[in-house]
Structure formats: C-alpha cells, structure tokens
C-alpha cells in the first residue's frame, strides 16, 4: 500500500464532514487539539502494536490490509447511506475532544485497522505521518465555525472511501 493510498484511505475513514457534523457545540481550539492528539496517539499505538497484534491473531500483513479495506468499506457505506451524527451535547473543552470527538467519531474502526496495516507494512513513523496528514481536513473543518456539515459531503467522502476500500483490499490480495 503506497503512502498516498494510506493517507487517502485514512482521510475517508476519519471523514471530516462527519466529524464536523458531530462537532460539540462550544467547540474550542483546545477541544480540537485534544481530539487530534488523542486520535494520533491511538493511531500510533495501533501502528506500534501491529506486529505483536497480528502475530497474536495469526494474520499476515497482506491479510491485515484486506481486513482494513473491508472495515473501511463498511464505514464508508455507513457514511453513504446513513445520516451523519448530530452535534454532541457533551460539555465543551478538551474532554469533549477525547470523547466523543476523537472516540468514537474520528477514530473509527477503519482508521484503527488502517493504522495496524500501515504499521505492519511501513512502520510507526510513516503511519503516524499519514494519520497526521489525513487529519488536516478534520482539524480545519472543526476549527471553522462557519463550516456546516452536509449530508452530501459526508456521503461523497463515503463514496470515495468505498472506492479506496476496494483499492486497499486489492493491494492486500495481490501482495506477497
């Protein structure tokens, strides 16, 4: 899986339009910073633990990519067909950045498995870098108060995610 594909797949997994839709009222810069940091830490942990984790569940790197692609497909189809979440009533501040913004809104199971697959194939550094780049649209969207999520935006990213999921699966299928 190329780094570009990993970045695009992670972007679709974190779907910035869905994150904006779920943005708690009174979101502050601290909230966004906490969400970003939490997500990146989780991505890093997944990437760092990918080797032992895959050994534990007897999965090869290519099969981990297939699993990540399938997870992305499921998450992407949800974004295409289901309504995005409503703004959370959670209290503003860093805590809201952790729950619910980072988890479960941004850090989806697809993002977790992509981090595992990326970590196994490319190592922790490149995977965290890919995650950081993929989170840029999320951060920008959350910081722009004027930006409102749209059903169409969520679905469009979901549709792209479905296509990217197919590419990730094929990458795993044809790999050694």
């Amino acid at each position: 899986m190329t780094l570009t594909l990993l970045i695009l797949a992670m972007t679709a997994a974190a779907n910035p339009f869905r994150a904006v839709a779920a943005r708690p009222t009174d979101t502050t810069t601290a909230t966004v910073a906490a969400a970003t940091a939490t997500t990146l830490v989780l991505v890093g942990l997944c990437a760092a633990g990918s080797g032992p984790f895959l050994d534990l569940i007897d999965l090869s790197g290519p099969s981990a990519r297939i699993a990540a692609g399938i997870a992305l497909l499921v998450v992407a189809l949800r974004d295409v067909f289901l309504a995005p979440p409503s703004p959370s009533p959670a209290p503003a501040g860093p805590v809201a950045g952790v729950v619910p913004l980072a988890f479960p809104v941004v850090f989806t199971p697809a993002l977790a498995l992509l981090a595992v697959a990326g970590g196994a194939e490319r190592g922790v550094g490149p995977t965290v870098l890919a995650g950081a780049i993929a989170l840029i649209p999320v951060v920008v969207g959350l910081l722009l108060d004027s930006l409102r999520s749209s059903r169409l935006g969520v679905a469009t990213v979901g549709l792209a995610g479905a296509g990217l999921a197919a590419l990730v699966v094929l990458d795993g299928v044809y790999a050694i």
Binding site: L59, S63, A67, A71, V74, V75, A175, I176
Partner: protein
C-alpha cells in the same frame, strides 16, 4: 456504527492464518513418508495406485501418464536429496513408460491413444534427466534427445505449445495451462545436459510466449499460478549464459509470486469452524504442493541472484506456511492405525476421503524444494 459490527464483518471475511515453520527434520520425515507411499503402492506393471478411497478402503479406477511421469521426476528428485530407495521405485516405474512410448511423426512420445500429451513427454524428460544427474547413467541419452526433438517440434513459431500430438499428423492445435511450462522446463533442462543440440531456442520461444502472450491468448481464469513455469525459469537461470530477466518477465514474476502467496494465505485460513462455510474444504494436496513448488523455485532463483531482497522474508513465510500445511495434513503412522489398509494411507494426503498419486507427487516435490531453499542447495 458499532465497532462490534465492523469487527464481525471483518471476522467473517478475514480469518487467522494457520501457518508455521516445520523443522528440517519434519520436512525430511514427511518426504520419506511420501516416498514410502509410492514404494508401497507400486504395482507389478510399474504403475502406482492412482486414486484411493480411504473410507471405503477401495482403489478407484483411472490413470494418467503425465502424472506418472511427474511421480518419476519427484522420486528422482528425492533420490538426489538423499532419500534412500526413491530411485529404485522410480526405476521400477519406468516399466510402464517402456510400454507407453509411442512413435509419432515428430518422434517418440509418452502416452496412450492416438494423441499423447506433450506434457507427459516433458515430465518424462525431467525425470530421466534427473536420473542421469543422480546416477551418472547415460543409457537413456538417446531417448532423452529424441524426446527433446519431439518437444521442440510441439513448440509453435509464436512460442505456444501444442498440448497433444496426433500420432499420424503431429502437433495439434490445442493448449494446456500446464503443458506449456512442462515443455519449457524439459527443453531448459535438456539445454543444460545437451548444450550442442539447440534446445535453448525453442525454450526461449516458449518463455517469451508464456510471459507476453499466454494469458492474453489463452485467457485462463482464474489466472494460472504456473509452478512448471517457475521450474523452467529456475533451470534457465542455471544455463551457462542465463537469459537476462526483462521488465516484462519481472512483472510476470511479480504477478506469479502474488498468486502463489495469495493462495497460500487463503488455504491457511481453512481451519474448520466458520471457515468451512466461508472458505470451503481444504484444497487438494496436489494444489498446495504446486504452491510450494512455485515459491520454492522462485526463491531458489531470487536467492542465487540476490534479487528482491525486501520480498524474500515474506516469500519464505509463505513457503514455510505451505510446507506447514502439508506436514500437518499428511497421514502418519499413528493416523493410519485404524485404517483397513494402512499401506495405502501412510504418507498420503486425503481430501474428502480420497487421495490421488499426484497429491503425493506435488507435495513431495514441494517439501524437498522448500528444504533446498533453506539449505541453500542449488539443484
């Protein structure tokens, strides 16, 4: 959407891979048991028990000369690798060959009926050439060269290979997904043994066709993971002046390695339980064996030339996995204790209650090749 739902969907689609790394001793023991099966199931006419139903304890009818030649090759390969007695069994199996050598308008062929297959002659060449290497005996040289000329004649101008030879009119307009590689391998071997005969030219024509045209022209589906082609490439790599690997050949090899690896990963997920429904029953040992043969040959070549170093670790994992599946699934003496005819089951591989001699043949060759890749032994 819940993590549980995603985890559930992923779990249904992707299963743990039951892989491992058998020890060198385990590989050797499994190969010895397979050779033992051939020794125990050799018949007075030089043929082997072709197919056996374990539950009914019945030998089933049928025979295949191409596979007979393949068994002879594997037995000589085993003899070369130090498995005592394998050569004697192969030598006894030549009695069947003597009865089935036929004269065609392009030379001798091996098989029955009016149209013997070119693949049978190809594998017979491989077997007799290996015998020559192992024993130093040259008593079949005349036959080897004559068979080589037959094989050169079934190679068409475009490099495609006629799958059958009409005894009266010569090569037919037929193709086989496996005979192409078998004939190419035989010609490649013959060029090493008889370099003055010019067998390299038709071999190179087949090589070009196999890489550049075969999939487009013959359109096999699913795509062929060509273990015979892998044997041929590995052999050509040992020519005194090996042909350089072109970009298209490298792309073909990448695709082949992916196909072999994918199939090993898929097969290793067949571990009972839910996988009975999502993956179906285990594959034939012949099929798993061909995966090991393909990976083993490519690995030998890659290691010899220090190529694709970053892929070799994963390739070794897949090769080990194929060997592990074979070792785990083979019937050993303890497994056969309750069988009615244990001499028909010990050393064999069964699928849905049946075994066929090519199960033992491909598995044996794979185990030996994978052992060779570990030891760094070149053929």
């Amino acid at each position: 959407m819940g993590w549980v739902l995603v985890a559930g969907v992923v779990a249904v689609a992707v299963h743990p891979e039951g892989c491992g790394r058998p020890s060198d001793d385990e590989l050797t023991t499994a190969a010895e048991l397979a050779v033992g099966w051939f020794a125990a199931n050799l018949q007075a006419d030089g043929r082997f028990v072709y197919r056996y139903d374990r539950e009914r304890a019945e030998v089933e009818p049928g025979y295949n000369d191409t596979r007979h030649a393949g068994v002879m090759w594997s037995l000589w390969q085993a003899e070369a690798d130090g498995i005592a007695g394998a050569g004697d069994v192969a030598e006894a199996a030549f009695a069947h060959v003597e009865r089935r050598l036929v004269d065609t308008v392009i030379g001798p062929a091996f098989g029955s009926g009016p149209r013997p297959g070119s693949g049978a002659a190809g594998l017979l060449v491989a077997a007799l050439d290996e015998r020559r290497l192992v024993t130093g005996r040259t008593d079949h040289d005349e036959l080897l060269v004559a068979l080589g000329r037959t094989l050169a004649a079934v190679v068409n101008d475009d490099g495609s290979v006629s799958a059958d030879i009409d005894v009266r009119s010569g090569p037919g307009d037929t193709r086989s997904p496996f005979f192409t590689g078998e004939v190419m391998w035989a010609l490649a071997r013959l060029h090493l043994t008889f370099p003055e005969e010019g067998f390299d030219r038709p071999a190179l024509r087949v090589r070009r066709y196999l890489v550049e045209d075969r999939d487009r022209v013959e359109a096999p589906w699913p795509p062929v993971s060509d273990h015979w082609g892998a044997y041929a490439f590995e052999t050509m790599d040992r020519w005194p002046e090996p042909p350089p690997v072109t970009e298209r050949e490298e792309a073909w090899r990448s695709r082949q390695l992916g196909l072999f690896s994918l199939q090993v990963r898929y097969e290793s997920q067949r571990q009972g339980g839910i996988t009975r429904f999502t993956r179906g029953p285990i594959a034939l040992a012949a099929g798993v064996g061909t995966l090991g043969e393909g990976l083993g040959n490519h690995l030998l070549q890659l290691r010899r030339n220090d190529e694709r170093l970053s892929d070799q670790g994963a390739l070794v994992e897949r090769a080990d996995c194929a060997a592990h599946l074979l070792v785990e699934r083979q019937v050993d003496r303890a497994d056969a204790a309750d069988d009615v005819e244990p001499h028909r089951t010990v050393g064999a591989w069964f699928r849905l209650g049946d075994t066929q001699m090519d199960d033992q043949q491909h598995a044996l060759s794979a185990l030996l090749l994978l052992r060779d890749t570990r030891l760094g032994d070149d053929p």
